[in-house]
Amino acid sequence: MTISWIQASILGIFASLSSMPGMAGSTIGNYTLGRPLVGGLVCGIVLGDMKTGIAAGVAMQLVYIALVTPGGTVSADLRAVSYIGIPLAMVAIHAQGLSATSANAADLAKSMGTLVGTVGTVLFYGTATMNLVWQHMGWRAVEKGDFKKLYAVDWGYPWISHLFFSFIPTVLMTHFGSSAVQALKTALPMDGIPMKTLFTVGALLPCVGIAILLKQIVEGPLDFIPFFVGFTFAASLKLNLVSVTVVSLIFAMIFYKLDMAISTNKQPVASSSGGAVIDDDEEEEDI
């Protein structure tokens, strides 16, 4: 499998659209096109092997399922994951002769994608920094009262930043990277320690993704409970995720009502008999 200049260019455009400050707006861009699941579909179509593309995308999506970028703090760059990592992973899967939907292919994709994603954060900072130039032009326009110019500043000029930090890197890395990946096959045999480790790492990486999500949800030990109940439903009862979601709704409803019952309860208590019972909500987390 090789990646032609044309294919590489299409990937470059998607990279520009889907990055954080990307050109498609965060809803359609970063949060849709940027997600590896969608990236896998796009790359699969562009490279003509949708099955492998989606399988690789699914694998990587798990690692980045929890990717939040609070205040522009970017721990992995999704343009690099989705439009450099996935194509290269696809090439590698082909090169190693792995079945597209095998666990091994997924593990390989995860390792490769994560590496690219982590390194790629430099692209994010590059883009954001270059945007300062256009913003400078924007401030001058504001001072002059030439507000119409803001549209160009917000919607037009940043494409130039992306030419340098999204398009070109993607084109080069996917086009040339594919031969580099091919060479790996001879260098590293499948039953050697490095490849075994690489694949094992791939299997372990999604734990970090899930753990990041957990970090967000878990404030006290009690918050682990819904997680483990969901885990049990899926692992022991083989419930699929829509079904898990449906069942979770009744618990959501209960906790909603409980919270309302407790909070409407606290108000009058607080005002009448002092703060004695106020903090039982916090206390319970400490058990």
Binding site: P21, T27, A128, W134, D223, F233, A234, D259
Partner: protein, 286 residues
Amino acid sequence: MANTEKKVLSRKTLNRSFHHWFYGHLTAFSQEHMQTFGYLTSMLPIVEELYDNKEDQEKAMKTYTAFFNTEPQLGTIIVGITASLEEARANQVNSGSDGDVDDTTINGLRAGLMGPIAGIGDSLVVGTLIPVILGIALGMSDGGSPLGAIFYIIVWNLLGYFGMRFAYFKGYELGDKAVGILIGAQGKAVRKAIATVGGMVVGGVAATWVTVKTSFRLTNSSGKAYLVLQDKLDSVYPGLLTAAFIVACWWLMAKKNISPIKVMLILVVVALIGVLLGFFNPGLTY
């Protein structure tokens, strides 16, 4: 000189303002000004409609040059609120009255809301809602099927677009009264409910999609395995090893303050040791 005719923003202008925000909130992002330019382009149609003379327009636009950053989806409500406040201010200005909506009010409210809404939005929209939809979509991608990706694209974009639209117009309608709803008791209860769904679905995602397996086994002289560790562990609790690794990663990050990237490096080391000890073996051949 008082102009008694009250200005009301047209639906068309509100729509334009909303779409400017929907599209452009982050396009010109920089670490220094973040979403400020997105905000400016969103307010421009509003300001142009409300103020007839250039000077008033400039004065109004200056308000929105103040730094702004929040979670863009949920944050749409703030843009809606300021549209409504700007309208009120314009009516004050036009009627020549000394109203109580001014620069300070508007920017105080913007600054006061952008923090909490960034927190709530990042954790609920990006950290819970999107993973839940993604989790469900992953379940539909079996065998490389595009169904999951398509499902995600449709569901998320419909929710995203109409959700933001709803937030914008709700914000415009309620004006500063919207603040209470976002932060009051009911808001808290809703977040609790969403976190419950989030927790359970994430558990389901973990059990369905993450698989940590040991290849450790004890065999007798004739080569028959009399202890397959993975089977034993699963008979205790299906997915035990997976759950243990996840909790360990959580513990490193949440309790030991180790960054995700460092945790990944630790996993590389663990994988290497595990491979050397025969605990892990992906079992590959050409």
